[in-house]
Symmetry: C2
Subunit: 351 residues, 2 copies
């Protein structure tokens, strides 16, 4: 009862390891050994197999190899968003490190709610050897509940017990800003908060509060304005704030996007920056230095975040000691804070 052998979907390569073996007059094991440079192979056998393989345009099938090996050589990257300077920079950081290490990247973004996020995590798992997850808004511990603790996984910008993670020194950055402004003589420094469920936003807030207390300057809770990381919310918050008295002499926004909005509101109100009110942001997105005046802000090492994330993932498979680490942030003084300094625009990305 001859079965009709299944034939592949036309599109992919037709030449298998068996074809190569037959043509080279060796066994499949030998061909496999040649391709993986494993086990003892005679010089001339090696050459011959390679030549034939080349000639036949043989490329090992990734799926078959994965099935046998139990390892895809790809890692998954799950971000809340794919769009924007910030995330693309993270991905790039991971990409260069990963490719160097012989890994591919399976990315996925745009998961607003946790249902979607969970689904994506499930789908991606099984196709990857490890996962880099960034979930600033959603509580990650619940999302990761049904990942065995042995599954290689590193978190970016959030922490879960027992999982390695890479975070940013948000608090330190915020403290540096407040110290800097205080040293310039500011007594009333307003803080424009980010969304309260966002971990970064909360840490920046805590840094602000700690530094204000430490500097012994005005700690009025009315100085804390609410925003949600969007430019619009920055505009609105500052618009409202300008109607109140006494005004702060400086505004520190929890991210640069809100600083842009804030700047719009200030300019609209005819309020000189930094003359009447100084302005400082957080993130150092590329636009920051093109604002008028160029924005003083906190630089976060975004690409590093990605690179270190990959490295940590790679290492965590061999050494599960989970050495989470925190990356330094640095204050970038431009002109919006009042400590003026010239700045010639530098080269940026094309297109």
């Amino acid at each position: 009862m001859a079965r009709t052998p299944r034939r592949q979907s036309a599109v992919l390569q037709t030449v298998t390891i068996r074809d190569v073996a037959a043509k080279a007059g060796v066994s499949v094991a030998t061909v496999s050994r040649v391709f993986n440079r494993k086990g003892p192979i005679r010089e001339d056998t090696f050459e011959r197999v390679m030549a034939i393989a080349e000639e036949m345009r043989y490329v090992p099938d990734a799926a078959a190899r994965s099935l046998s090996t139990r390892s895809t050589s790809t890692i998954g990257v799950v971000l809340p968003e794919l769009h924007g300077e910030f995330f693309s920079e993270v991905i790039r950081g991971i990409d260069v490190a990963a490719r160097q290490g012989g890994y591919h990247l399976l990315v996925s973004g745009s998961h607003s709610n946790s249902e979607e996020m969970r689904a994506v995590l499930q789908a991606v798992r099984g196709r990857v050897d490890g996962l880099i997850v960034m979930s600033p808004d959603l509580e990650p511990s619940t999302l990761l509940a049904d990942f065995p603790s042995t599954f290689p996984l590193v978190l970016l910008n959030s922490r879960v017990d027992g999982r390695p993670s890479i975070t940013i020194d948000n608090s330190g950055g915020a403290r540096a800003v407040v110290r800097h402004l205080a040293s310039l003589g500011h007594q009333r420094i307003a803080f424009l908060r980010g969304p309260s469920q966002n971990a970064d936003a909360e840490q920046r807030l805590r840094g602000y509060r700690a530094a204000v207390r430490a500097a012994g300057i005005d700690a009025d809770r009315n100085l804390e304005l609410t925003g949600n990381f969007t430019e619009e919310s920055g505009y609105d918050a500052v618009k409202r704030m300008l109607a109140t008295r006494p005004r702060p002499s400086a505004i520190f926004t929890a991210n640069d996007a809100m600083a842009i909005g804030a700047l719009g509101a200030l300019v609209e109100a005819g309020c000189a920056v930094p003359g009447e009110i100084a302005l400082v942001g957080f993130d150092d997105i590329p636009i920051a230095r093109f604002l008028a005046p160029p924005l003083t802000t906190v630089k976060v090492p975004i690409a590093d975040l990605g690179r270190r994330g990959f490295e940590l993932l790679r290492d965590s498979t061999t050494d599960p000691s989970a050495p989470s680490l925190k990356l330094e942030t640095t204050l970038v003084v431009r002109q919006s804070c009042g400590a003026s300094r010239p700045a010639r625009p530098r080269r940026t990305k094309s297109q």
Copy 2:
């Protein structure tokens, strides 16, 4: 001679379709049919298998499925770069469309030279069902040489005979700019070129030339300045140009990055924009509207590029008629061209 059975690398799931079948008292075929909703299955069998699978936390193995099915459900995305607003927006466009269609994204970027590019294409192939490739600088036809013409593949922003592609109406956009400037009375419009091996750059140049000729205004070849899409090159070129006479009354740059550099040079020289010299860019990157003055430019539908790319790829597998298409660009008039108009900043990305 009992072989020691191979056991998986500890990390991944241990429960296979056989385990589920055994526990549910059915055969593997039935479990498979339940999971793929294929073939006739009795209601109660379906429920029981599903329940057991859920309970055992069974997740089908992607590699095995791929091997059997000859289809990963992922598509590859190869870009020259991953960083920046432009590319991240392309990826996002692809991502949302792909996820909706049940596909995953394998991305790869940062290939400066064609050797690297070729290697990446090889590595990615076999792991994906199709490929979306963007290679504005490198000649794509040679890169794609050893891809059988049946391999599903679409090109972004470049064309190769017999391959479906999505391009942007660079020429039309450039013509619109020149027409607009001419209608404002400009007689001498300089053009700041992009790198000559870049296809987009060349098309924009051609559009500029055609429109200048059509408008019957000054077509002096000295009006064509050389640049390479970087901000720096824009700065340098305009700096040099300002030393010559007669000056143009408007500068049209082949992308926004160069416009930023150009603006820097103009401001530095005390040259009023648009008062003395009008300025127009191309791309409409997000920074564009935050420049002082806000930059008039050509908006290219970046996310569409990605989405349409995916759709074309999906369709091309069933219908290989390769309906390449060209996306419209639109002129966005802000203030740098002299046709003033107010603009309230709108909401942008957070963080």
